[in-house]
Amino acid sequence: MSRQNQSLFSAALVGPAFLGAFRKLDPRAMIRNPVMFVVEVVAVLTTILFARDALAGGTDLLFSGQIILWLWFTLLFANFAEALAEGRGKAQAESLRRTRTEMTAKRLTGPGRDYETVPGTSLKVGDLVLVEAGDLIPSDGEVVEGVASVNEAAITGESAPVIRESGGDRSAVTGGTQVLSDAIKVRITAAAGSTFVDRMIALVEGAARQKTPNEIALNILLAGLTLVFVFAVASIPSFASYAGGAIPVIVLVALFVTLIPTTIGALLSAIGIAGMDRLVRFNVLAMSGRAVEAAGDVDTLLLDKTGTITLGNRQATEFRPVRGVSEQELADAAQLASLADETPEGRSIVVLAKERYGIRARDMAGLDATFVPFTAQSRMSGVDLDGASIRKGAVEAVIAAVSAQPMAQRGSSAALAYHPAAETEVVDQVRAIAEETAKAGGTPLAVARDGRLLGVVHLKDIVKGGIRERFAELRRMGIRTVMITGDNPVTAAAIAAEAGVDDFLAQATPEDKLALIRREQAEGKLVAMCGDGTNDAPALAQADVGVAMNTGTVAAREAGNMVDLDSDPTKLIEIVGIGKQLLMTRGALTTFSIANDVAKYFAILPAMFLTLYPQLQALNVMGLASPQSAILSAIIFNALIIVALIPLALRGVTYRAVGAAALLRRNLLVYGLGGVLVPFVGIKAIDMAVSALHLA
């Protein structure tokens, strides 16, 4: 799936949408949209009446013919909007479908590597298959044995291969992706037709689209308004007969269709489809429209510290020696200890030593050095060279190691220079520095050379650039951010303060996360989070918006209601924005649609009642040319405004994080007041065109 932005009205999309607009006139499809269904019923009835009148040689056929034509246009424009929105998804679905060509599978028949070749469609959940280099993975599953690099470009658009291995959090594989190297055994977790790709296709095509709760409520409102205007228009004939006249049916129909909220009715489903589509373009798959809507409502955002708020790796930012040791000496020792350390932390120490003290990298082999790797038991790493031993590691671990060494084995200079009292003082100093480092949000790393404590390296969590501003923006949106971290509370508090999150959960276990979500929800808040591990699954399922990383486990992907194909946890922020945009677009167009009615009344009412009471000409504030051109202009405006608003419906109203009050003021001004004024101008302009062309 490509992320390139297709232009809204590209020829490739407009053509099929044009045909789709006619196909969607099928009443069985129309009935899903109550407002437009009513318009269709009215259009059919007036067409029949028109045919009867035409045969009987009625009068004013040109006028009523034009009105009826525009009624059909109104319907076609609405269908066109929906077809266009769907078309964009369809194009994406096509490219997905191409990946799902006929696949064969190597189904394992025994515990070894014996297999039989079967069609991919015959696989059942629980089957074990072998996938070797070059093979396509036949269906969704979980790696149970082996490790392989996999090209997932088919679903993510990202061509760099990813590693998939058994156990751990990177065990999920997706049907349709290709194994590039090695071989893996995969347990199938999805039956044919219900795989990830299948669901993606259904989602982007809009086939699986169900009305969201908010859309249902809006439909009720629109249906209610339609009924109100049924009463308003249906009572007019008797009022007219009281006044001693009659109003032609076609005029009543024109008034009715312009009054009911056709603008929003026509664009409602296009807005919903476009909202999902925006997510897809963002490489996020929402399993339901409900989830997208919920994203707009999110009150609390749980964000993992590592990778989201901070760069994945800690970096050395400072060397803090104990008294009597120079920074240079500490830096030198720390650099030596880290030369062979390939961890990002280790490399950052080397970089810092070079940048700050000009200590160049030395060749390990030339130094005849032995690297002592980090183990979970020792919690230290280091190097032995020329009889010297340098260690760096967790503060308490290094202190313990230093104290355990007998005096005699310590470096001679150290033995002479220090006595026990001084030694405790050094330990206290190191501990004090370590404490300060932790309070500043860093991780302290003690360094010792030949059993002598030299000082502490300050490893710092680097907060991502610009993240503070993002959180400030979220706060303006009214969203509380909570940082989740395994760090101790002291470190967590410092990072939280630096990043500008509202709250943090330190030393978090999966149970803590789940409890936090439940607590927030009990207060009536909606919670969003993202996660990838199996132990995230309960929290993902509990959260109102759970975004699973595509690299995550099957369990996580099943539990969340969105999947981020790029596995980028920061996207949660954009997802919230897209959810809000969807709701805003609906509200803006509804407001606009209702506000339009004022002008339409002023166009049609004086025209309609002029034969009864010529005095009502005073209501013709727009000075429309004739009653017929006034009515025709109103119905043309009503149809054309749909087309004019299609780009807005598909792109969405721009969301600005400026707080609800400012946002509402702006949108009320644009879509409320604008909605009252625009049709006055529009109808007048159309009226001038209509009378210039002598259409009425």
């Binding site: 308003a232 009150d299 709701l583 805003m584 407001t591 209702i594 509402l664």
Partner: protein
């Protein structure tokens, strides 16, 4: 328009506003079940009533239970009132020996008083016995008002409570509304009115000999007590046919002023009860502000239209405004103000003939009612009517801040929207539907006294008044016929219960929801922006529906009058 007139209007607004907080605080205590100043006196009486009725005051009801109790209570009230009216000839306290009320009129009148409409197809002093007036009508004046208050209280609880199924007890709310709010105020008001010269007697009508030697019957009766609740409970049913234009029913300028104040007093203060109960008084003030904007526009238009009646009147050589149908005692300002107050508040008492107002002056009362009586509105009814509009306004505009719309921490979802639309739908259905019927059927066409648009306005006004539960009459329409009595009664029932029951359903649904804490992403509902939005939605959704009918009635009449045209008098 005179400075004196504007000062009267300003003074009126100031007095009403001054009452909002104290009355609101008191009523909040009453409905929260807390101790009040009157508890030592009324408490034992209240408990006694529950004991007799077998009500457990702590037993709360779900919305269905609450609605069921409300319907049952009103149905019983209807049966009782109908029986009294039909049997009044044989019952005591009938010194004028009034005959039994005809079945269709009794049906209309019973419905009218049970629904707090007080539409009167009859002349009180020539139709009803004292017993019918006191036990029948005055009794319903109290309890129909109390039942409206109860529904409003239940709806407020829907907003203020969270995660619960119950809304309080209808029996307790109605009892407390009557006992602690309506009765004490009415006792004070009745005494005041008597001091102003209003009759309060059970003696029969007075036979007087005029200076010319003719015989005249001067009707008196227990007037003051009925007038007190008629205004306070926004009932509006007059003791006399001339209603508040009758010198005995509105003796002095001061009595007129107090009557107008009491029409608005409870309705306006209820916005404060709302604010207090949801824990943010500003919310109540915002709603009152929206009502206030609509009210002031109405008053200004009516006063201007009546004071500067040009067109036909100036063609006739008249100047100084339109005094036709107005009491010289009150003048144009007080009459215009009264007309707007009584139609804004669903009261329906009149101190001038709205039929004789200018076209635009008569348009405002009509629009006030068509908006659903939400400008202060009937006691309780005004608030729940306005809250229904609030739900629609919040739903439409609230989406524009990018969240599922919420009001006071409650999410507005499909169920609330459905019920709110039902409440909004029923008014155009009853008002326009019955007007359409009456303008084509011979039985309907026989009603109006005037031809042309004015006759149309008379019919439209009648059904509008009935469905809005206002009860004021435009005048000119002969309504005491089988057709009008029956259709108007149905309009009253639709307009009352098809709003009350959806309002309770909304309350039930809201009470069951959690309350979402407000954040900077929440749409603020206490500022000018919200007030403007609410006014806009009330005008566009509540008002636009009626534009065609208004165009064919008062609007065309106005343009015709400006041009100096009249329509021939006929049917």
């Amino acid at each position: 328009m005179t400075p004196n007139g504007w000062i009267q209007i300003a003074l009126y607004c100031a007095v009403v506003l001054a009452l909002v907080k104290p009355l609101g605080a008191y009523m909040t205590r009453v409905f929260e079940g807390e101790r009040t100043l009157l508890t030592p006196v009324l408490g034992p009486f209240e408990r006694g009533l529950y004991r007799i009725a077998g009500i457990d005051a702590r037993q709360e009801q779900t919305w269905l239970g609450y609605a069921g109790a409300m319907v049952l209570f009103n149905a019983a009230g209807f049966v009782l009132l109908y029986a009294i009216l039909r049997l009044q000839a044989g019952l005591p306290l009938n010194p004028a020996e009034q005959a039994a009320v005809a079945p269709d009129l009794a049906f209309n009148t019973s419905t009218s008083f049970v629904t707090n409409t007080n539409w009167q197809s009859y002349g009180g002093e020539t139709t009803l016995s004292y017993l019918s007036q006191m036990l029948g009508l005055t009794h319903q004046n109290f309890v129909s008002a109390a039942s409206g208050i109860a529904v409003a209280v239940a709806l407020i609880r829907g907003f203020s409570r969270a995660s619960t199924r119950t809304l309080g007890s209808f029996w307790v709310d109605t009892t407390r509304a009557t006992l602690y709010v309506l009765l004490p105020l009415c006792v004070v008001l009745a005494l005041f009115y008597v001091s102003q010269g209003m009759p309060q007697t059970l003696a029969p009508s007075i036979e007087a000999t005029t200076l010319e030697g003719g015989k005249q019957t001067i009707a008196v009766g227990p007037v003051a007590s009925q007038v007190a609740i008629k205004m306070l409970g926004t009932n509006g049913g007059g003791f006399f046919n001339a209603n508040a234009a009758h010198p005995f029913e509105n003796p002095t300028a001061l009595a007129n002023f107090v009557q107008m104040v009491t029409i608005f007093a409870i309705g306006a203060a209820f916005t404060n009860v709302f604010g207090r109960m949801v824990g943010d008084e500003r919310q109540g003030w915002a709603i009152l502000a929206a009502m206030g904007v609509l009210f002031l526009v109405g008053v200004a238009v009516t006063y201007w239209a009546e004071a500067s009646a040009g067109g036909v009147l100036s063609n006739l050589g008249l100047s100084g405004g339109n005094m036709e149908g107005k009491e010289t005692r009150f003048g144009i300002a007080a009459s215009a103000l009264f007309a707007v107050v009584t139609t804004a508040a669903s009261c329906g008492a009149v101190n001038a003939m709205h039929d004789s107002f200018t076209a635009l002056g008569g348009l405002v009362p009509l629009v006030n009612m068509q908006l659903g009586e939400v400008i202060v509105g009937g006691v309780g009814a005004g608030l729940y009517g306005m809250l229904i509009f609030v739900i629609v306004a919040i739903f439409v505009a609230g989406l524009m801040v990018g969240r599922t719309p919420e009001y006071l921490g409650k999410k507005i979802e499909a169920k609330e929207v459905k019920m709110a639309m039902l409440g909004i739908l029923c008014l155009p259905l009853a008002m326009l539907g019955f007007t359409a019927l009456a303008t084509v059927l011979p039985a309907g066409l026989a009603g109006p006294a005037n031809a042309g648009p004015h006759g149309f306005s008379e019919i439209l006004y009648a059904y509008t008044s009935a469905a809005a539960n206002n009860g004021s009459a435009f005048g000119g329409l002969t309504a005491n016929t089988l057709f009008y009595n029956t259709t108007l009664a149905v309009a009253m029932l639709v307009g009352r219960f098809f709003i009350k029951i959806p309002a309770l359903a909304i309350a039930g649904s809201l009470a069951a929801k959690k309350t979402v804490p407000a954040s900077s992403g929440t749409f603020p509902t206490h500022g000018g922006l919200f007030v403007g939005l609410l006014v806009g939605v009330v005008l566009i959704i509540g008002g636009l529906t009626f534009f065609p009918s208004l165009a064919l009635g008062p609007i065309v009449e106005h343009f015709a009058a400006v041009a100096g045209q009249t329509f021939a008098t006929g049917g």
